[in-house]
């Protein structure tokens, strides 16, 4: 099991752990946590994005719709899954699966692990911005519970596109940010090598995000990171997801939607009255 021993890390150390190529990916979490998984393919519009996968799954007897950004384990897998960078087709597939979940009365569990939405010319042509925007709008009114788990990299809008949920869980060594530390450093510091400083300033670790009220719960990892004991990491995620589901499945659809709205509206609600 996850150890209680605290290991002090800088934000930049955590970024390295979150991106560790050995870190368990969504496919592995699903296979370690779920006794059944039926993958469902395609957005019914263009294609089947291998960078964002999903389908029916059963976690300790609880039937859910599961989905997540998919980073590969091998070079071949990473080429196929575009290193976890989803295209509009991926976000539209996610929305289609969430629609099915709502219709069938299944809670949704999403796994977040992406450097960001794919910045490609074809992704722009097919409406990357529209696809993400539409998911944000749609998820805010979805009449079934949504549990989000940030397992690795939570990269900006590409992460948020499937991360509007009732409970946001985050692994201890995952990161979640509006921009990569490298990107931020090269824009605001005009020096990409200042990424470690930017990582600190952006407050992207689970501990900082919990304080900011952006995530609800930190899931402990094995002392040296999830990749050193994937089974223990998966067991901890499974336990946290089941607890969250149990809590949310007691609420009516109206209550869920109202609470989700209030939750996101409260984020960044700061008043500084200046009087113009």
């Amino acid at each position: 099991m996850a150890t209680k021993k605290q290991v002090k890390r800088t934000a930049w150390d955590t970024v390295q752990l979150a991106r560790n190529p050995g870190r368990p990916n969504v496919t592995e979490y699903i296979s370690m946590m779920c006794e059944d998984f039926v993958e469902l393919h395609g957005d019914r519009l263009f294609g089947d994005d291998r960078a964002l996968i999903g389908g029916f799954a059963t976690i300790s007897g609880v039937k859910v719709m599961v989905m997540g950004h998919r980073k590969g384990r091998t070079v071949e897998e990473n080429v196929e899954s575009n290193f976890g960078m989803a295209s509009p087709d991926g976000y539209r597939k996610a929305m289609r699966l969430m629609r099915i979940a709502e219709k069938f009365g299944l809670p949704v569990v999403t796994f977040i692990d992406t450097p960001g939405a794919y910045p490609g010319a074809d992704a722009e042509a097919r409406g990357q911005a529209e696809a993400i925007a539409h998911n944000l709008e749609f998820m805010s009114t979805l009449r079934t519970p949504i549990v989000v788990v940030v397992i690795g990299e939570g990269g900006s809008g590409g992460a948020l596109g499937i991360a509007v949920g009732d409970k946001i869980l985050m692994l201890q060594n995952a990161v979640y940010s509006v921009i990569s530390p490298e990107g931020c450093a090269s824009i605001l510091w005009r020096d990409g090598s200042k990424a470690p400083v930017a990582a600190e300033a952006l407050k992207i670790t689970a501990e900082s995000l919990k304080k900011l009220g952006v995530i609800d719960e930190i899931v402990s990892e094995p002392a040296q990171g999830a990749h050193t004991d994937p089974k223990a990491a998966a067991a901890a995620v499974k336990k946290a997801v089941l607890a969250a589901l149990k809590e949310l499945m007691r609420l009516s659809a109206d209550e869920l939607v109202a609470k989700r709205y209030d939750k996101f509206c409260a984020m960044g609600r700061y008043f500084e009255v200046k009087g113009k």
């Binding site: 509007v164 407050k203 113009k276």
Partner: protein
């Protein structure tokens, strides 16, 4: 060379800044009064220069109909952020002093050809029109006022995307504003999004792409990822028209491109089609 290019030769007198504006696109000298009269649109090449939020409100709404709401909601500094060039707090204070605005979006009630609306107008001059907690809160409150007063909602976007200085809190404004838009639509109210130069990043991937109608100004830059990021990803040079309003319309994400001088009448006409 066509006739109109010949006709716009440099005037014989040495132009002075007091009397002439140089079109940033075709470099023609345009009389300052004519430039203002045309709403900062070049009479020679139809270049649509950026407007301040106050100029936009003046052009789009009936005289003296605009009443600002929630002006007291302004920037805050949730991360206590500073970068290579200083603190965010100092940068925000300087921007407020320079622009006379307190956020990158101004919201209020107004009338468009006597039709009462709620309107939000972004200002690129305020930190690149970036989406911050204050801007997100103003937009959310505008959506709530639209529902409460049962009025159509109009948002004019001009933004480079998220405000990095507010980190993850800025990202969350995408979810928050999109949730507000969902409620406007659920109330059966029209929401028109007007995309002006530029509308990119987190703003295009949230409310700007969610209009019942998405209306753009000619040649406006509209997209998710930045051109250079995409070129670096795909290792190809992108065509000049990539991510223009025309490109976005031709790919199915914008309903109409409307000349600035016709925008008010066009919005009013569509509002009447919507039953207002």
């Amino acid at each position: 060379m066509s006739w109109f290019e010949k006709s716009a030769e440099t005037p014989l007198r040495v132009p002075t800044e007091a009397l002439w504006v140089v079109c940033p696109s075709c470099k023609a000298y345009v009389e300052k009064d004519a430039w203002k009269q045309a709403g900062k649109v070049c009479p020679r090449c139809n270049y649509h220069a950026r407007l301040s939020c106050r100029e936009r409100i003046k052009m789009l709404t009936d005289a003296d109909s605009f009443e600002e709401i929630n002006a007291q909601v302004t920037t805050s500094d949730p991360l206590n952020f500073s970068d290579g060039s200083g603190t965010y707090a100092a940068k925000a204070a300087a921007t407020k002093a320079k622009t006379g605005e307190f956020e990158s979006v101004v919201t209020g009630t107004a009338a468009i050809e006597k039709i009462p609306v709620v309107i939000a107008v972004m200002d690129f001059k305020f930190l690149g029109g970036s989406l911050s907690s204050g801007a997100g809160e103003r937009i959310l409150l505008a959506t709530e006022v639209a529902v409460k007063l049962h009025r159509p909602l109009i948002i004019v976007s001009a933004s480079g995307g998220a405000r990095m200085h507010e980190g993850i809190i800025s990202l969350m404004q995408m979810a928050k504003t999109s949730a507000g838009i969902a409620r406007v639509k659920e109330a059966g109210l029209p929401y028109f999004s007007i995309l002006t130069d530029p509308t990119t990043g987190g703003v295009s991937a949230s409310y700007a792409m969610l209009g019942d109608l998405n209306i753009a100004e000619p040649k406006a830059l509209i997209g998710f990822a930045g051109r250079r990021v995409i070129e670096n990803t795909i290792k190809q040079k992108l065509p000049d028209d990539f991510q223009t309003a025309e490109y976005t319309r031709d790919h199915g994400f914008v309903d109409c491109i409307v000349q600035r001088r016709e925008l008010k009448g066009f919005v009013a006409k569509c509002l009447r089609y919507a039953g207002f």
